[in-house]
Amino acid sequence: MSLTHEDVARIARLSRIAVTDAEIEAVGKQLNNILGLIEQMQAVNTDGIEPMAHPQDVSLRLREDAVTEPDRREVCQAVAPQVEKGLFLVPKVIE
């Protein structure tokens, strides 16, 4: 299986990464090489094998429902690209 330019453009869009028309050929070629490597998996029979999501089969811990974080809004927003009155600014989303 090989990704077409349209597939690459769709994956780039889903990834929220702008890929220019000039780049798409090279990006597609590299993605296809990597997918070719990954294809090796399909030769192995894994029927009945339980998928392993994590090295230890741990369950998530519960804790007391108590406040653990202090309010550090100003410190945290000091590294934001654009902030006004304690809010993160983004381009207009709703018309």
Partner: protein, 483 residues
């Protein structure tokens, strides 16, 4: 002084032979002299370092010193550190001054260790050669034409060049072991969950391990005593009692069962590396170890399984870089989606973009079962291989990488070739086992080669014992490059 181990520095500080300020100044001078050619550090801040050192001296004067108070350390630029630029090797975080510190950084600070600077790395820890850093490649101190290994190349090169006596590092598919091997230093990644991931910028969360790089196994044990431990802010941190990783160092190796996986000595292993590993095994036999052959039949499948699972988790983790809350934001855009797409196209380097796109694809509708679930099933097969192997041995030994360090630029144009160089390390991360690299000799081209020691879950003290005894009988770990 510059060749001293942590253990020796600790003794010199305790005896008052040197102060933390003198020590920090000596390393800072050496960094200023050698970093321009090695590029092992992204950020150095002399005033901050000397202030930390002065505080360490004051702490010692007040009688509150720990064994490592005043000992300098370099932090891999992946660990958030309050007040320091934490770039993770990326343009995306080039302007990011962290508002908080990682658990590992807090632990080192609590012990009184002094930050020498922030070590260079492959962008977001994605790479095997340290050529993927926004700040340029790190050079191998043994040969400036060679890669130092990645992604913790800055950490390993700094320790090898004696720009720091120890460094923090991380290992997602090998990022501690190949750099340690290629730079002739000792590095360990403990069992998954032993070191907190809190404040360690996430790449592939189920595979990310923190650990130290230092000159000796004993120093790595001292560092793990500081770095490891339960942290409730990491949901997968192991709730285990604090342990002393030095406790087994001096035990004899008589009766130790060493497993050699036949797949690690098959086609693809360079003959000079193979000879070095054979001599290391012979050395351990002299120390009383028994050798058994074991099999890890699914080793080859670790590459495809890793390059599904790691990119899948990376695509989710790196979605946080959206140009809204921190990091780079594109300067011109027409709407929100355009801002995301331009910000990420400008902020990420090409390998990071590739892995995000691969991850997005394997998780997308219609491909999830065929790729992601399939890879997780193979992950189980790989973990089961290790379980079976450890039924017959105490530790597994083998090479860290198929060859000694390759040349800068040799594989950077071909991602798949680069991926194949991690054949002996990826499966260990998939299983979540502890593993380390110990200097074991020099390849035909004069570049260092490490021996990999893989242990069962929670067998760090035993592995460190094996490594320490090996280092008592050999002197590879004491060799330093001429700079």
């Amino acid at each position: 002084m510059i060749n001293a181990t942590l253990k020796q520095l600790s003794a010199q500080l305790a005896a008052g032979q040197v102060s933390a300020v003198e020590l920090a100044a000596a390393y800072l001078d050496r960094i200023a002299l050698l970093n321009p050619q090695l590029n092992a550090f992204i950020t150095v801040d002399r005033a901050k370092t000397l202030a930390e050192a002065a505080a360490a001296d004051a702490r010692r004067a007040a009688g509150n010193a720990t064994a490592l108070t005043g000992v300098p350390i370099a932090h891999k630029d992946i660990f958030c550190q309050q007040g320091w630029k934490t770039s993770c090797g990326s343009k995306m975080l080039d302007n990011f001054i962290s508002p908080y510190s990682a658990h590992v950084v807090e632990q080192c600070a609590a012990a009184g260790m002094v930050t020498l600077g922030r070590a260079n790395m492959d962008e977001f820890a994605m790479g095997s050669s340290n050529e993927n850093s926004f700040y340029g490649a790190v050079k191998n101190p043994w040969d400036l034409n060679a890669i130092p290994g990645g992604s913790s190349g800055g950490s390993a090169a700094a320790v090898a060049a004696r720009l720091a006596p120890a460094a923090t590092a991380t290992d997602t598919g090998g990022s501690i072991r190949p750099p340690a091997s290629h730079c002739g230093v000792t590095g360990i990644k403990p069992t998954y969950g032993a070191v907190s991931r809190f404040g360690m910028v996430g790449y592939a969360s189920s595979l990310d391990h923190g650990g130290p790089i230092a000159q000796t196994a004993e120093d790595c044990a001292l560092m793990l005593n500081v770095m490891a431990g339960f942290d409730e802010r990491d949901s997968t941190s192991l709730e285990r009692a604090k342990e002393d990783y030095t406790r087994e160092l001096d035990q004899p190796l008589a009766g130790l069962r060493v497993g050699l996986p036949r797949e690690y000595f098959a086609e693809g292993l360079a003959s000079d590396v193979g000879r070095i590993i054979d001599s290391a095994v012979a050395e351990l036999k002299k120390l009383g170890a028994e050798v058994v052959e074991v099999s890890l039949p699914n080793t080859q499948l670790s590459i495809p399984a890793y390059y599904v699972i790691a990119p899948a988790e990376a695509s989710a983790n790196l979605s946080r870089f959206d140009g809204v809350r921190y990091g780079h934001r594109a300067s011109e855009y027409k709407d929100l989606v355009d801002m995301y797409e331009k910000t990420r196209a400008e902020g990420f380097g090409s390998e990071v973009k590739r892995r995000i796109m691969v991850g997005t694809y394997v998780l997308s509708h219609g491909y999830y079962d065929a790729y992601y679930i399939k890879a997780q099933k193979i992950r189980r097969l790989i973990a089961d291989d290790f379980k079976a192997a450890f039924a017959g041995c105490d530790v597994i030994l083998g090479p860290v990488a198929p060859t000694a360090a390759f040349n800068l630029g040799e594989k950077s144009g071909d991602p798949v070739q680069m991926y194949l160089s991690d054949i002996y390390t990826l499966s260990v991360n998939l299983a979540g086992l502890p593993a380390m690299s110990v200097p074991a000799g020099f390849a035909d081209n004069g570049r260092p080669v490490g021996l990999q020691i893989i242990g069962n879950y929670f067998a760090e003290a035993k592995m460190l014992n094996v490594a320490h005894q090996f280092q008592q009988a050999t002197d590879w770990h004491t060799r330093a490059p001429a700079l």
